[in-house]
Structures are given as C-alpha cells and as structure tokens.
Amino acid sequence: MEADLNVLQWSAEVQAALPHVEGYAYPNETHVLWSVLIVIYPYITGLVAGAFIMASLVRVFNVRALAPVYRLALLTALAFLICAPLPLLLHIGHPERCLQVMMTPHLSSPMAMFGFVYAWYMMAVLLLELWLDYRHDFVVWGRTEPGLKGAFYRMLTLGANDISPKALDLDERMSVAVTIIGIPSAFLLHGYVGFIFGSIKANPWWGNVLMPVIFIFSAIVSGIALCVFIYTELSWFRRKDTCDACLDAMGKFLFFALLVDFSVEALDWLHRLYSADESIHVLKQLAAGKLFYTMLIGQLCLGTLIPLGLLGATQLFGAQIPNFVRRRIYYFSALLIMAGVLLMRWNVVIGGQLFSKSLRGFTTFKLELAGQEGWLVGLGLLVLPFLILTLLVRLFLPNEKDQPANTPTIAQLPQLAREGNGADDPAHERPSVAL
C-alpha cells in the first residue's frame, strides 16, 4: 500500500514538472526554440519577394494595367526588406556576432547564405531598380524642392543629373535588365528561406523537397495581397478612386497564384498521406489536433478556400458584379490571404516543433505577451514596415491631386521622354505615375 502511494506521488511530480508534454518527447525538446520571431521572418521576406514579383509584371511582362501600383510595390518591397533581418537579429543568442555569417560563412549551411542573398537582393536588385526608376524624378525634385528636402533628393541622384532622352532610355533598358535579374533573385530570396526548413531531414514536417516551392508561391500570393491592401488603403487615405482595371488585374493574378499555391500544398499532403512513412501518424495527429484552428480553420478554410471562392467568382462573373462590390471582394480576400499566409508560416515553424523527433509525443507552445519573443514584439515587427512605408510614400510617391484618371503609366514614360519634350527643363517634368 505504501509503495502504491509512493508511485502515485512520484507520478504526480512528473506530471507537474512537464505538464505541457503529451506522450514522450526527448528532454531537450520539451520547449519550443524557434518562436514567433522566426514565424515573422519568412513572412516578411515572402512579402518582399511577392511584392517585387508583382512589380516585375509591369516591367518585364508589360502588364500595363498594374502600372499604378508599380512604384508602390517596389517601395513596399523595400520597406519590408529593411525589416527582414530584424526578427533574426532579435532572435539569435549573440546578435553581436551576426556579421560572422558574412565574414566566415560555413558554405554547407543554407542559413549562411542569408547575408549574401539579402545583400544581393537589397543592393543589386531592389535599390538599383528603384534608383534607375527614380533617377529622373530625383533630378527634377532636386531642382524644384526647396531646402533640406531638395538637398536630400540631390544626394539621391548620386551626381547623375543627365536626364536627356538618351540617358533616360539607358535607364529604362538597364532597369528592365535589373528586373529580369530580380525575378530569379526574388525566387532565390524566398526559395532559400523555404530551403532552410526543407533541408532539415531530421524533421519530417519540414524536410520536404516541395518546401521551397511552397514558400515561393505563398510568397507571391502574400505579396500581391499586400499590394492590393496597401493600394486600397492608400487610395482611401488620399481620397482618390482606385483604378478598377488595376485591381482587376491584381485580383486575377492573386487568384491564379493562390490556385497554384493551394495545388502545390495539396500535392505535398497527398504525397505525405500516400507514401505514409513512419512520421505520418504523428503528423496527422498534429494537423487534426494542435494545429486544428491555425491550419485547418485558419490557413485552409479562411486563408485559402474562401478567398479562392471569392476571387474565383470575380473571374467567372466579373462583368455582372458591380465595381464597388468587386473592390471590396479584392480587399477582403487580400486581408484573408495575408492572415492565411501568416498562419501558414506559424504552422510550419511552430508546428514543426510541437512534436518530438522521437515521434512519440507533443509539447505545447504558449506565446507570451511581453518579452523578447512575445506578442508585442511580434506585433511591433509587423507594424514597423508599414511605418517605414508611410515615410517612403511621403518622400517618393507624392500625392498628385490634380492628376487625370488616365495618367501615363511607368511603362509609357521612356517613350514619352524619347518623344523629346525638353526633359532637361524642370518645367517639363516627366509625368508621375498614378498615386
């Protein structure tokens, strides 16, 4: 009898020590190591890649309907790219050693590529593309704007003040070349983030050849959705009508990108269920249990199926749906998709750590409110790019109040410049794009 009591007492002690563990987890795995910051990191890089790819539709694929959001998409990509390393820096144990990743990279590690991929994308693609696109405006604004603001624009010209038609034509051709390089770079930026997870064979939730592809398509989807959201909001703030042709084009690309994204993720699950390796039991339990709300309800139903239905309806019955309804459908779908992709990152990062690699049990994750990896820091990191974007928009996307509805698009600008309209004269400014 005494022995039985001892057993019960001991059992209660063990349960009290690890109340958050179900089944058996290796002792070192009972707490989640990569938290909300590592959820936000791939989310932000995905938004960057997606926004850039959407901008490239204008430059490279000449989708003129999207011209009103071309510059906005590039500035959005820049605002989010500036913030992309912050979650990593906040997360790592020794941020003061972060430059070692670039100074002494261990080339067999996918994570070692971050510094190079980031620097390449930031310096060689995005900033160069923006500079080539804005150089004419910098010169003009530098001459017309007074005081510090004018000096700031003059500084941004980097001394290249030639805005003759020939120079602008060269800018245009170089810009197209940079965009063409930029598309695979955007794929590289986010494909490598997917590879960080996909390369971990120790974790059956992550170690998957489709992971980079899934990440790329979810990035494109989230990036376009972000542009829809920002474009609609910015138009509302500036009390301007949104361009319906532009929103329709974004809605179309959003629908097809979401369709591909959904198909690839469905293929991933189909493959997992059919091949049914030793991890499938624990993964099924994970999806139906710990991730029920974030994956099945949030990511699948709210973030994918409902937007697919709504956007699909606009594709099928576009002409019959009034413009103001279509606008709201795009806006609402974009919000759902952005939330769905954030939940997808959550399900990948947190979900992959909720089960033990012994495949015998689960641990629990509880997000704290404050602290370095809490709600507040996560929220701050998600809000910060919008604040930076606000500043960028104020500086580089002036509100053209009297602009006519059929403002020349960015793709038409070099042609206008070539037509020889005294481009050196600030009075003959190159017309700005809408917004």
Binding site: A3, N6, V7, W10, S11, V14, A17, L18, Y24, A25, Y26, P27, N28, E29, T30, H31, L33, W34, L88, H91, I92, G93, H94, P95, R97, C98, Q100, V101, T104, P105, H106, S108, S109, P110, M111, A112, F114, I196, S199, I200, K201, A202, N203, W206, G352, Q353, S356, K357, S358, L359, R360
Partner: protein, 270 residues
C-alpha cells in the same frame, strides 16, 4: 592509331595522384594544428588529435537506469540543472503485452525519461502482469559521420574534430539554433545562460588528458564502452564489444551514419 593517352601524360597523372595521396596526412595534420590554434578550449600540450579516434558504444542490456551517468554529466560539464537540458539522458521503454484477443506479438509502447533519468526511475504505473518487457536506453550525441548539425551551422562554430568528436565553439556560436533543429536525435540544446548551442563533447577536456568521459567513469555496469580506435589496448573493450554483439545505429534511414553503436536494442528505440 594514335594513343588516347600518351606515356608522358599517364606518368604525370600517376605522379600527381601519388603526390596528392602522400600530402593527405600532412594536410590533415596541418588542418588539425590550425584548428587547435583557433580552438577556444586548448587541448593539453602534446595531444595530437590526428593520433586518436574516440568512440562510445552502448550495451543496452547492461543499463539498469540508475541515472548516475546523467547526474555525473550535469556536474562535470556544468549543464543547466533544469529538466529541459541534457547532454546525456536515459529512456525507459516498457512494451506491454497485447490486449487479450488481439493477434499481435506486443502491445503499446510506453517511453519515459523523468528528469532525464538522472534520479533513477520509480516503479512504473503499468501493472507487472501487463508488461512484456522493459529496458533502459542511454542517449547521447551520436557522433555522426555526416553530422547534420555541423552541416547546418552557418558560421562553422560546430565542427568535426580529427579525433572523432563533434564540438561547439561557444565563443563563435551565434545562437541561431539551426543545429538544434537539424539534430535528429534531440541531443542539442540552447544553453539559457550562455545563449549558445551545447551538446555532449565526450568530455573532451577529460579524454584529451587520458581520462574517460564522466558518464563512462561512473557507470556501475559498464553499459557505456569507450575507447580509442587508433590505439587499441590488449583486450580492448571496443573490439570486444563489436566482436560479441550485433550492433545497430539509431535512425539509420537518415544517412547520418552515427558512430555510436548500440547492442541489444529494440525496433521501438528511435
């Protein structure tokens, strides 16, 4: 007919190949010397890592789950006292009999490791009559030949030493945790005090001074067999172990090729 490879060219290729082979030992020695210079924890004077190859093997049938090894490891290596951090731990496997009427050889499998087994194991709640068999399995770094942790480290702070150990340089680790995610065996953890990754080092500070790892030293049943493959002794325990046992590795399908070998293990052990 013109020969496809002239005699002169063939001799040149052979000489080049021989030169490359001959230079390998020097290159390895030089690499080890360089690593030794830059290592944050210096090995004792006169210790040459290329002259040793350390290995630990586990005889599961000998382990009694006393937990002394886990306790000694914590004390020797200043491992955080919390039950979330272990360089080595012991798992208890209880395989139940199949339920009556079920055509199976075995029933449910229950695994536990209360506090890493460092305080021993209390009696199980499973009634004795329902237990088919039970055994203890000590766990530690598997010293993988193709270590995924060293592969994943973005700055090379985790590295394979020439004497067969996988180490972490705490002065270089950035604390990203990628190696912890990459380890299939759950052998690594993030030290909450130093904010760097940590793992079993085979007590490198001891073995380079001619001592045994702490866990081997305290094991009362010799369940942990430790030795130097390059300097086998007479009646070497490792050679005896491999001669008398059929050995297995954990998660062989992952291709990490663990060097730690287990004898008398069950298929349920992962």
């Amino acid at each position: 007919m013109k020969p496809s490879c002239s005699r002169r060219r063939l001799l040149g290729l052979l000489a080049g190949g021989a030169g490359w082979l001959a230079s390998l030992p020097f290159a390895r020695t030089a690499k080890a010397a360089v690593k030794n210079v830059f290592a944050s924890a210096k090995t004792p004077d006169g210790y040459n890592p290329t002259k040793h190859h350390w290995l630990m093997c586990i005889d599961v049938d000998r382990c009694i789950g006393c937990g002394l090894c886990a306790e000694a490891c914590k004390a020797e290596n200043a491992v955080p006292q919390s039950s979330n951090y272990f360089r080595t731990w012991i798992e208890r496997y209880i395989i139940k009999k199949p339920a009556p009427g079920v055509a199976a050889l075995r029933g449910d499998v229950i695994v536990d490791s209360p506090n890493g087994g460092r305080n021993g194991f209390p009696p199980t709640l499973v009634p004795k009559a329902e237990i088919l068999k039970a055994f203890f399995v000590p766990k530690l770094c598997n010293l993988c030949e193709h270590s995924p942790c060293a592969q994943a480290c973005p700055v090379g702070a985790t590295f394979d030493t020439p004497d067969g150990v996988v180490l972490v340089d705490p002065t270089y680790c950035i604390g990203c945790g990628f190696c912890i995610q990459a380890c299939p065996y759950g052998c690594r953890f993030m030290n909450p005090d130093t904010h760097t990754a940590e793992k079993c080092t085979l007590c490198y500070h001891r073995i380079t001074r001619g001592l045994q790892p702490a866990c081997v030293e305290v094991c009362p049943t010799k369940a942990r067999i430790f030795g130097d493959l390059k300097n086998p002794t007479e009646k070497d325990p490792l050679q005896e172990f491999i001669r008398h046992n059929k050995v297995f590795t954990l998660k062989p399908h992952l291709g990490t090729e663990p060097r730690v070998l287990y004898a008398n293990i069950d298929k349920e052990v992962r």
